[in-house]
């Protein structure tokens, strides 16, 4: 009798825990695809500040640059738009289209090093995946 009670209690507790984990899991999964994720680690931020932000910000003098990519606005974008921008950032640095050659000729210290390029690419890749881009 005592044993039966013990078994009952243990199963009840484990069932409760199990139902909680399942609930939390499904919540985590759905929030992963529904909510836009935009995080910029310090090392990425440093590269962006040095090589990209000068033209791609809200107060930029270059209308075209800020219309195409504005780092001040990235966290407000919906997933489709954000993944689109990230994919274009990935391609632009991968193909060495950005920063523009003319700009680098004038400010050689703004050039992306090979490791800067890799850091930006894996950052973009990671965020594209977190936003359901796979």
């Amino acid at each position: 009798m005592k044993n039966l009670f013990l078994v009952f209690t243990i199963s009840a507790i484990s069932l409760t825990i199990l139902s909680f984990t399942i609930k939390n899991n499904s919540k985590a999964l759905s929030s992963n695809t529904d909510v836009t994720v935009y995080e910029v680690p310090a090392d990425v931020q440093e590269i962006i500040d040095n090589s990209c932000y000068g033209c791609h910000n809200t107060d930029s003098k270059s209308t075209k640059s800020k219309m195409k990519l504005n780092f001040d606005d990235m966290s407000n974008l919906k997933q489709g738009k954000l993944v689109g921008k990230l994919h274009r950032i990935y391609n632009a640095v991968n193909d060495v289209d950005m920063p523009p050659k003319k700009f680098i000729d004038k400010y050689p210290d703004k050039e992306l090093s090979a490791s800067d390029t890799e850091t930006l690419k894996s950052w973009a890749n990671n965020l594209m995946n977190k936003n359901g881009g796979l």
């Binding site: 219309m67 195409k68 994919h87 594209m128 881009g133």
Partner: protein
Amino acid sequence: MKKKFLYIVFVVFILIQLIPGGLPKVSFDNPDDLIINNKDIPEDVVTILRNSCYDCHSNESHYPWYANISPSSLLIARDINEGRAKLNFSNWENLSKIEKAGALDDISDAITVDEMPMAIYTLIHRNAALNNDEKEVIISWANEFSERLFE
């Protein structure tokens, strides 16, 4: 002297006809085409895409008569090759989700900053130029279509 000059111009014109033009191939049978595979794209969007974009950004190029004469043929071949390499609506369904999102963002930006359709194209194809309403139609379609990929 003037006669000689005209003669030289004429000979050069004849000679450049010998340069192989390499016009990109045209095909109207594209099973992976954007419009064919997405019947829910609104009619006004389809019309604009076909009218203002498809000559360079699909396999369905309609070549004008001067596409067969140098030097215009060389310019046309270069622009269409570049256009298709960047974005070819005839291959749309082969793109990954992130490539589609990137292309749609690019479309919306290129129209917003008036990079597309190219000025040299609309100079001759006057009805391919987009007015503000048509621009807005394409921009909001591209943005909505992209978000729907992530729903």
